[in-house]
């Protein structure tokens, strides 16, 4: 085997943000404002990368002049999707989070992300009729180019097309750098940093896409492979609730986020609403039926009762135009292009919706506290590891920088010698993957993993299936490690992403077996009841001397 030679470049900074999404950019902006030298490492381009890359149109926040009493606000929010997650983070975290969201709204508006509609704050979607509306409609289509510009303006160095793969620890176990590969050239980077923030987003991976043949059409971009979660886990940080899959619903086949942007009513083929909330479209609230139970749509189609449609009839042309505007802000321009090409006018035509396939959890993953600190000194996490989507990413990223600045003040960079052994190990791996003349393509590995995850840890779970599935997953993972082959740096990025996903899939199997109850989308046939004693508790996993250790708190 002839090894593909990589050039290696060592670089230094105070604060390294891995992942240039909303969280990473907000962390970098805040850190740079406080005088830190700061680098954002991004595997794509920060202007359009990540789940918020093509925009967003709703931002959960508390604006005192709009919402009034906080107690009523938070009580209503707790009833929405992810309310459980908020409960787990605790009332203090929730309060400081929501108080901070108002600051971010004003900042973003000042920076040129229009947070107002028609001169005022307009809240709509994801809401129960008559209750608090917590989602601010905003024009987020250019949020990433604008945040990128703000970061550059403050001197942040943005390193695009570089994937952070491994966290480098110093001899005291502190985060001291990151090993990264270039996604376009045979180049590797060893970053030394006083503090590191991981904001690599919500991985879709692990489960197969229900829409065969459209494997890249997922709610979040395909290249989000949970790199931050995997590197945090390997470095000894805690992950939580990895066995609790996320589930989404939306337009059938054209798999996308943005369910709250739709203002119509979910109906069966006879026009009968499938939920109790709306009789006609309501731009202010939307049909919350699928938020109560995303499988409700699937229950219609799996039993062959009827397809389920999102029906906008009843909206005026002006209202529909506005809804389409929000769909574009949410990143759905191609969907609207498709509707135009097919002559679909939603004023009198309903489009089919479906329950999508399970995905790795959002709002779980790397465990961090109110200062976005993980249990590894110098390591911070933000974004989809936490709560709140875009606003959650903005706030937790911001806080990560506050904590990192305080932490890094009296730290210096680690000696290169402390980081070199691990960096060389990673470099050998990258070179090996690129040198293999034949072997498994990353997509082959991905499909193998997805089949196993679905067959043994999918819709229904049991100890018998999980145990057998984990054994097979580990065999396939080991073989993938030996045989994955990258034809170029682009494929190398996906090969390394696959190794990360295998690791995360293993934590999912281990934690699913350990959670002896049914809850949410985790359905155990051998433990069909919800264990009330686990209410409000989180399930943790971390590596201790190579062994996975799980606990509840």
């Amino acid at each position: 085997m002839e090894t593909q030679k990589f050039s290696v470049e060592w670089r230094d900074t105070d604060f390294l943000c891995v992942g240039g999404g909303i969280a990473g950019l907000m962390a970098a902006i805040n850190a740079a404002e406080q005088g830190m030298d700061c680098v954002v490492l991004e595997k794509a381009d920060t202007r359009r990368s990540g789940s918020g890359g093509l925009g967003n149109d709703h931002f959960i926040c508390y604006i005192p002049e709009v919402h009034g009493d906080y107690a009523t606000f938070i009580s209503d929010i707790m009833k929405l999707q992810n309310g459980d997650r908020l409960r787990q983070m605790g009332p203090e975290w929730a309060k400081s989070f929501f108080m901070k969201t108002w600051d971010i709204v004003r900042l973003w508006d000042e920076w040129g992300i229009p947070m107002k509609h028609d001169g005022g704050y307009y809240f709509a979607g994801h809401a129960v009729p008559g209750r608090t509306r917590a989602f601010l409609k905003y024009n987020g289509i250019d949020q990433k180019p604008i945040l990128t510009k703000q970061a550059r303006k403050r001197g942040v160095k943005i390193h695009n097309r570089a994937m952070g793969y491994e966290l480098l620890l110093d001899d005291q176990g502190r985060a001291a750098g990151v090993f990264a590969i270039d996604t376009r050239e045979y180049k590797a980077y060893v970053y030394r940093a006083k503090a590191v923030c991981l904001g690599t987003g919500a991985p879709n991976g692990v489960f197969p896409n229900a829409n065969r043949g459209a494997w890249a059409m997922r709610t979040n971009p395909l290249n989000l492979t949970g790199d931050g979660r995997a590197m945090a886990y390997r470095a000894g940080a805690e992950l939580c609730n990895m066995e609790m899959p996320g589930l989404h619903a939306g337009v059938k086949y054209f798999c996308r986020n943005g369910q709250a942007t739709w203002e119509g009513v979910l109906r069966d083929r006879d026009g009968v609403p499938i939920g109790p909330f709306l009789e006609k479209p309501d731009p202010l609230y939307g049909d919350i039926t699928m938020e109560v139970n995303k499988r409700h749509i699937e229950s219609y189609t799996k039993s062959a009762r009827s397809p389920v449609y999102m029906d906008m009839t009843g909206l005026s042309r002006e209202q529909l135009d506005l809804m389409e505007h929000w769909l574009r802000q949410e990143g759905n321009s191609t969907l609207l292009r498709h509707f135009r090409q097919e002559g679909i006018d939603m004023i009198d035509t309903a489009v089919e919706f479906s329950t999508y396939v399970l995905k790795l959890p959002i709002s779980s993953g790397i465990v961090f506290n109110g200062g976005s600190e993980t249990c590894v000194p110098g390591l911070y996490a933000a974004g989809d590891e936490g709560y709140g989507g875009i606003s959650g990413a903005a706030v937790t990223g911001w806080w990560a920088a506050d904590s990192a600045r305080a932490y890094a003040a009296d730290k210096s960079l680690a000696d290169a010698g402390q980081l070199r052994p691990k960096a060389e190990e990673c470099l050998n791996l990258a070179e090996e993957l690129c040198a293999r003349e034949d072997g498994a393509h990353w997509l082959e590995a991905r499909m193998a993993m997805e089949n196993i995850a679905w067959d043994y840890c999918g819709d229904l779970r049991s100890h018998a299936m999980l145990e057998a599935g984990l054994a097979h997953l580990r065999r396939v993972h080991a073989r993938a490690r030996e045989t994955l082959r990258a034809e170029n740096p682009h494929e190398l990025m996906y090969c390394l992403g696959m190794l990360n996903l295998f690791e995360l899939a293993e934590t999912m199997f281990l934690m699913a077996d350990e959670r002896r109850e049914s809850r949410g989308q985790h359905r155990r046939v051998d433990y069909p009841l919800q264990n009330l004693m686990l209410d409000g508790k989180r399930h943790f996993i971390r590596k201790n001397g190579g062994e996975a250790v799980m606990s509840w708190r």
């Binding site: 359009r48 059409m217 054209f254 097919e342």
Partner: protein, 76 residues
Amino acid sequence: MPPVINKDKCIRCGQCVDVCPMDVFYSSKKGETPVVRYPDECWHAEACALQCPAGAIDFRIPLTIMVPFRKLPHER
């Protein structure tokens, strides 16, 4: 084949190549019309089209992601 580049309109500025979050234009060369090397990895979110100063990018929506639709009884 997701993005389709109109060679007559393309000014070969490479901005779509720079910005594509999925790098479907991987290996495209500066000064040449971009090549869609990894069409299956397209997320269909139009970063390229939004960036293109020449309006040279169109999309062919794959058959697998066409959305089913119908007129409900009250819409006919």
